[in-house]
């Protein structure tokens, strides 16, 4: 049964999903593709980012090309004002990022509410937290790239935050600024972090999907169109504008906050830096520890499925159907009549019994619920005399 979660929350989630099914059928229920939604927005971000990248100039002042100032801010301005559909692409890139954070948080919430984050799924939870942090940082670097006054404030705040860290602080600061002060090199570094780290997301996603048989990574086209429509609604209803161009000699103090990416800066502005780092690090560790094995193992022991070696014919059906890649087909020992033998990796097994259902030879069992016992119980129930 669902354990360790307020049951009311689980029931609420299931009721909402049931209602959604009633309206748009379970084939198109976005709740059943919650993990694929941020993935879809990631592709949108890659594509729109590629188009922006073609016209973006990562400098803060560039006197080489012309008498006019050409820098990051003016190139973004050019994309927005001069390029056909440039403002739309920029808006898509911005709002798809926001949408990605929202869908990631919804994904994490649903996974938590429906109790699907612990034990054999701990890798998915931990890599998910890491991916969220990476997405947040990639998004923040996107805000530096525009190079308006907000970018300048954010850059300076980040530098002071890195400065407050012991030992690794100076190194991080030098890495972040690509030198000791904000220069042209700083912006090219930001661009590198922004693009490089977003491709590193793919590596993180691979770890997120490992051990998942047939991961659901793309929603049906109908949902994609819906997601895109919502995005376009925001793009046209609330066009993106830059602030004033950043001037290194000025000291702007306030900026509009994007709550999806910039909430750490809100925190940074309201507490001192030591408290800030302690809060961020403790929060991250707590999030990562949510599926801590010892918290749940005692209450929910998993007894991994066991193969009956004398009965297994090596047909591979259980290994195809296992949702967690816990069954590996190995060469059968010498003298066997068959070529392969199923073996269970106990640390991956969820004891769901799908392999039992897949086996037509009664060769795999859950140790605490033998299928022979279930069948015997069914027979006894079916044959029993009426109780009245």
């Amino acid at each position: 049964m669902y354990t360790s979660i307020p049951k009311g929350l689980t029931d609420l989630a299931l009721t909402i999903e049931k209602g959604t099914n009633a309206v748009i059928s379970n084939r198109y229920n976005p709740f059943y593709y919650h993990g694929a939604l941020p993935q879809f927005y990631l592709w949108v971000l890659f594509l729109s980012g590629l188009l922006l990248f073609a016209y973006y100039i990562p400098t803060i002042d560039n006197a080489y090309f012309s008498a006019n100032l050409v820098n990051a801010w003016t190139s973004v301005d050019y994309i927005t004002d001069k390029l056909p559909m440039g403002a739309v692409i920029r808006g898509i890139h911005r709002y798809a990022g926001d949408a990605m954070v929202i869908t990631i948080v919804l994904h994490a919430l649903r996974v938590w509410v429906t109790d699907r984050y612990r034990q054999y799924r701990w890798i998915q939870w931990v890599t998910g937290i890491m991916l969220l942090l990476m997405v947040l940082f990639v998004g923040q670097t996107g805000y530096y790239l525009v190079w308006d006054e907000r970018s300048l404030v954010l850059t300076r705040m980040t530098v002071s935050a890195f400065d407050a860290l012991p030992v690794i602080g100076p190194g991080l600061k030098a890495w972040f600024l690509n030198g000791t002060a904000i220069t042209n090199l700083t912006l090219s570094n930001f661009l590198f972090i922004h693009i490089g780290l977003s491709f590193t997301l793919l590596f993180g996603l691979w770890m997120h999907y490992v051990r998942m048989t047939r991961p659901v990574i793309s929603p049906p086209p109908a949902i994609n169109y819906m997601l895109m429509a919502v995005l376009m609604l925001f793009v046209f209803a609330f066009p993106i504008t830059s602030g004033k161009m950043a001037d290194i000699n000025s000291a702007p103090t306030s900026f509009d906050i994007d709550w999806f990416f910039l909430f750490p800066y809100w925190l940074m502005a309201h507490v001192d830096l030591v408290t800030y780092w302690v809060l961020m690090i403790v929060a991250t560790i707590l999030l990562v520890l949510v599926p801590l094995p010892n918290l749940y193992k005692a209450a929910n022991p998993i007894e991994a499925a066991e193969v009956v070696l004398t009965k297994c014919v090596g047909c591979s059906l259980c290994s195809f159907d296992c949702p967690y890649q816990a069954i590996e087909m190995v060469p059968a020992p010498a003298g066997s009549r068959f070529k392969l033998l199923a073996t269970v990796k106990p640390y991956r097994c969820s004891a769901c019994g799908v392999c039992v259902g897949a086996c037509a030879f009664d060769a795999i069992d859950l140790p605490n619920l033998l299928d022979t016992d279930v069948t015997a119980q069914i027979r006894a129930l079916a044959e029993a005399k009426p109780s009245a």
């Binding site: 999903e17 009664d362 069948t375 027979r379 079916a382």
Partner: protein, 140 residues
Amino acid sequence: MPEQKVITLICERAADLDSVCTAQGEVKEIDGLHVVKLPCSGMIQPLMIEAAMKSGAAGVIVTGCQIGDCYYREGNRMIRERLLGQRPPGLKKTVDRRRVLALWLSRPQKDRFLAEAKEFVSFVRKLPVEPAAAAKPAAK
């Protein structure tokens, strides 16, 4: 034969029948409807359905969570495909498909289960004992 048994093979996370069952797993409202709980509907072997029929059950109700929402990711989809003959091992052709009902209900849908089960139980008990030809699969 009004007292012929009907067996329900149900995922323990699907429709929550605890409140309407006796301690022995018999549904109080419907006479002769027994519930066998499994960790996941994906664990149901087609052999179990055949065994129930052979031992004289009038019908079998297979219940999993809503398709798309399986705690173990794919269990309900798999038993559904097995019942429909799209995934091995499938149900034997000799099993009368009219006597198998598949319901995909999430935990709060107890009432829906009772309504569907009541209709199904009275339906299978009226069926002739020797079925003519196998009808279409009953899985929804």
